[in-house]
Amino acid sequence: METKTILQEKFASKDVMLDLKDLKKVYPTPKGDYVVLEDLNLQVKKEEFITIIGHSGCGKTTMLSMIAGLNEISGGKISVLGSSIKGPGPDRGVIFQAPSLMPWMTAMENVMLGVKKVFPHGSKKEKEDICKYYLSKVGLDGSFHKRASELSQGMQQRVGIARAFAIKPKVLLLDEPFGMLDSLTRGELQDVLIEIWNKEKITAIMITHDVDEAIFLSDRVVMMTSGPRAKIGDILPIEFERPRSRKAVLAHDDYYKYRKHMIDFLEH
């Protein structure tokens, strides 16, 4: 089977969760404008898991932080469910590369920080139950009241995942969330992430450097061209059945075709 790619796929607008249109990012420098991203168009469907892969410095993180609202948009438009975004907000949860937990708070308090904001009218018990639910979903049953600074990197990132899911965002943005972890822990956390995602089906966009991670997790892999003036170079749909098991994915015949396709693109 030849892998097929579709660059400009149009979805029915009721299916589109996130729409990036002619997105542009320019950083002014003393030597003139530096164009990081230009003419970037991407539509993400509801309940879709997308990974973005590309060389370092091509502007992946810039794009993601623009979607999060943490970075100004120089041109074009980003809209969630048809309405364009204004600044950051809890409808777009972010899992950062560094766990970014408040080290002076316990795991519970860290998750609670967001939950309180999103469910201001719930009772204390309800809010605590939400936190506990998500913390146990990521495998932190015994560590509710441990301070974040006492947890290992992997555990901290689990809290980060729980925090992001607990606020029930419309879109989940993941900026190389497992980049700082060793490969064993990374595998574990991929399982944790995909398990909780299978339940919640939150539209997710994840940046990664890891080809295997991209294939295992995503519905489509978006490959970006190298910067400056980076844009989308190629989109590869991954057509494995969900829920996926790592074993089945690795054993599948198409796995190496997908892998080859991506590596060819990246080494091109």
């Binding site: 777009r92 970014s100 002076w104 904001k117």
Partner: protein, 366 residues
């Protein structure tokens, strides 16, 4: 039991005693003996070395001074007088001892004298209180001020006064510098607009602050007949020492990790929540570093300020002893020096312990 002792020791900053506790409980004797040598015996050896250098130094200064004295007498008054002076010095008579750096044993003796002195004065005070108790009651009933003890304060009283002044000054610094530091740290505009003022005022000498405070307090308290020297000295101490806290707080608040701020942004926390849940806890380590510097600066400038403001305390004790020029004045000054140093050290330890209690940053301080 053992573990809890170790925990307490670590908490109060006496973690170096840990191997001793472990050794006493019979745990891994070889490793812990080495640890004891490293962490306890070696520091004790350095203290002994220090005392040795001090002793030799003071001995040689003593000899130089004595020889000079004898030679001078020989030149001015002849052999007979010189022999007399020599005999007098050798006899240890206090009337003709050379005046120079006192030896460790002299300082220790002065320390005991000062303690004895304190006991006597306390006794005196208690007796005075007893004697005037009924009279004072009557005076208070008549609406007059009670008679207070006006005798010489003892060394320990001076220490207490000094500590009181430092704490008042420190509290003042804390109350002024932290809120201002936070406000300035939060706003780039405020920070750049007030930076010049802070940079100019920061290096101003304690003496000048004292004079400035004196000018203001003198005018403000024109009508009161009370003793303003305490007020003047604690305000000066506060003003001198608050800069470290101000600068550190502003820096801590303005340099909070961008990751934390991004989290706050994504969660859309309100300003109030952002400040109290994210920015302040994140900058506590730096704020505490500032407060520790402030406390040690406060204690350091206190001596100079007390000396000039003529308010009672260790500073005036040192100055009076210096002016006094009695036989044991020098050694009393050195006693005061060690007491000042030791209390300064204790204050810093207290701050470190408080920091460990409330700050997330659990690193062992220096």
């Amino acid at each position: 039991m053992k573990d809890s002792i170790i925990k307490v020791l670590r908490f109060i900053g006496l973690g170096f005693l840990e191997p001793l506790v472990r050794l006493a409980s019979g745990e891994d004797s070889k490793k812990n003996t080495i640890e004891v040598l490293k962490k306890i015996i070696a520091p004790i050896a350095s203290v002994l070395l220090f005392l040795g250098v001090w002793y030799t130094g003071s001995k040689s200064l003593y000899n130089t001074e004595a020889n000079y004295k004898i030679e001078k007498t020989l030149k001015d008054q002849g052999q007979a007088e010189a022999d007399k002076v020599k005999a007098c010095i050798e006899s240890g008579d206090s009337s003709c001892q050379p005046n120079t750096l006192p030896s460790p044993s002299q300082v220790w003796a002065s320390f005991l004298v000062l303690l004895e002195d304190h006991k006597e004065i306390s006794k005196d005070k208690a007796a005075f209180k007893e004697k005037t108790a009924t009279l004072n009651e009557k005076r208070v009933a008549q609406g007059k001020d009670p008679i207070t003890y006006t005798g010489r304060p003892s060394f320990v009283d001076q220490i207490k006064t000094s500590i009181k002044t430092v704490f008042a000054g420190f509290l003042l610094a804390l109350l002024i510098a932290t809120p201002i530091g936070i406000i300035i740290g939060l706003s780039d505009t405020l920070r750049t607009s007030f930076n010049w003022l802070i940079q100019i005022l920061k290096p101003v000498s304690p003496v000048v602050w004292l004079l400035l405070v004196f000018m203001i307090v003198k005018t403000l308290t024109k009508d009161s007949t009370g003793d303003t020297s305490f007020v003047i000295s604690f305000i000066s101490v506060g003003l001198c020492s608050m800069w470290a806290t101000l600068v550190n707080t502003a820096m801590g608040v303005s340099t909070v990790d961008q990751d934390y701020l991004n989290v706050a942004k994504v969660l859309k926390l309100g300003t109030f929540q952002k400040i109290f849940k994210v920015i302040l806890p994140a900058s506590l380590p730096l704020i505490f570093t500032g407060l520790r510097i402030t406390l040690s600066v406060a204690w350091m400038v206190l001596i100079a300020i007390e000396l000039l403001a003529q308010s009672p305390g260790l500073g005036s004790f040192v100055w009076e002893e210096f002016q006094n020029g009695a036989m044991d004045s020098n050694s009393k000054i050195i006693v005061a020096m060690f007491v000042i140093g030791f209390i300064g050290f204790l204050l810093d330890r207290i701050m470190l312990t408080i920091q460990k209690f409330i700050s997330f940053d659990k690193n062992e301080g220096i």
